[in-house]
Amino acid sequence: MLVHLSHPQRQVEIKGPKRTKELLRELNLVIEAHLVIRGDELVTEDEMLADADQIEIRPVISGGR
């Protein structure tokens, strides 16, 4: 599956099928600081992601305020 990441913007190819939480773990990302979006829909940590899915992992932390 093609995974879009931010900060900085980049794309990585990850082998599926894979659960959301396993994808985050593989990329060493904390669930509490990210949202996983398939197409334009949010998915939960237990959702199975297929090889053909377009995934965006969106960071939610903002700072400097």
Binding site: A33, L42, P59, V60, I61, S62, R65
Partner: protein, 312 residues
């Protein structure tokens, strides 16, 4: 995973609430959390005119959206800081929301451009003044928001500070024992003197992740890109540390911040020194004579049990 309320497919799970929600029930949950904060901290009433400080990010646009959906009279102020393409993009997002959503609720957007008044953008001003950019930015935004609220007769100014912002700020203040800043962490700050607008933080019960999820679910187009000036900021580091703790132990952030707010509202108990307390509560163990609160100290109890217990 299914929604705990309506049993349809969930889009988000919230470990700190031991809950999972579908889109519709999650939106209701967020609205309820904001309504609860507004009521419990006496932020404003439906009659009040509210000025929301918007940046184009998820928190402030979600706040404006929620207040309009809850039926409040909320306009917004955007301060264009002049940070190149970042400011251009955030300005576009705010304008898009104002024209396509807020206008239908009768709400308007006020824009202040730093460069027009100060003659330079925030980066240039920080360089000229030999001050960190984030502190220059904070001073300008606080000043302009307060000025707009007071001059244009708004009853209250609302910012998008969330649970993560407040917990991270509290951690920073406690780490450096900056007691003098703790009073300013209340979700409602009164208009203490003439010239100061009342300030409120209606998102203080919601985490950053919950607000971002609300924005995605409700198709609010916000700027995902981080402010280039905030890179390496201490606030981001504190948030990362808290999020690691939250992942291991859900509810840590809310217990930390809400616990602090609760302590603030309770009167300080009469101070008693440790020695005074020990003298009042401790007496010699009837078995060994060392000080204990019980008749027999825990060491003697443990040893007595060890001598009589049969090995497994």
């Amino acid at each position: 995973m299914n929604c705990g309320k309506c049993k349809t497919k969930a889009v988000i799970s919230l470990p700190r609430h031991n809950a999972a929600f579908c889109k519709s029930c999650f939106t209701t949950f967020v609205h309820e959390q904001v309504a609860r904060a507004i009521k419990s901290f006496k932020m404003f009433t439906p009659e009040d005119r509210i000025l929301v400080a918007v940046s184009g990010g998820k928190d402030s646009l979600a706040l404006w959206h929620i207040l309009l959906k809850l039926g409040y009279r909320a306009d917004a102020l955007y301060v264009n800081l002049g940070i190149g393409s970042y400011s251009e993009e955030s300005h576009r997002k705010v304008r898009h929301y104002a024209d396509n959503v807020a206008a239908a609720h009768g709400a308007k957007l006020i824009v202040h451009v730093v460069e027009q008044e100060a003659g330079a953008g925030i980066r240039e001003l920080a360089t000229i003044l030999h001050r960190p950019t984030c502190s220059t930015c904070g001073t300008i935004k606080r000043y302009q928001f307060n000025r707009a609220a007071v001059e244009q007769d708004y009853n209250v100014m609302a910012t998008g500070h969330n649970l993560d912002d407040e917990a991270a700020r509290l951690l920073g203040n406690v780490l450096h024992w900056q007691d003098e800043y703790l009073d300013k962490q209340s979700p409602t700050l009164p208009a203490s003197v003439e010239g100061f607008a009342k300030k409120v933080k209606p998102l203080c019960r919601l985490s950053e992740r919950e607000i971002a999820a609300y924005a995605v679910v409700n198709r609010i187009d916000y700027i995902v890109e981080e402010c280039p000036m905030a890179k390496g900021s201490k606030m981001i580091l504190y948030k990362e540390v808290l999020n690691r703790l939250e992942t291991e132990s859900p509810g840590t952030k809310q217990r930390f911040y809400w616990g602090f707010l609760e302590k603030q509202t309770k009167p300080e108990p009469a101070t008693e020194s440790m020695a005074e307390k020990d003298q009042r509560t401790l007496h010699p163990c009837q078995s060994c004579g060392q000080p204990t609160t019980a008749e027999t100290c825990s060491y003697c109890k443990m040893m007595a049990k060890a001598k009589t217990a049969t090995p497994r």
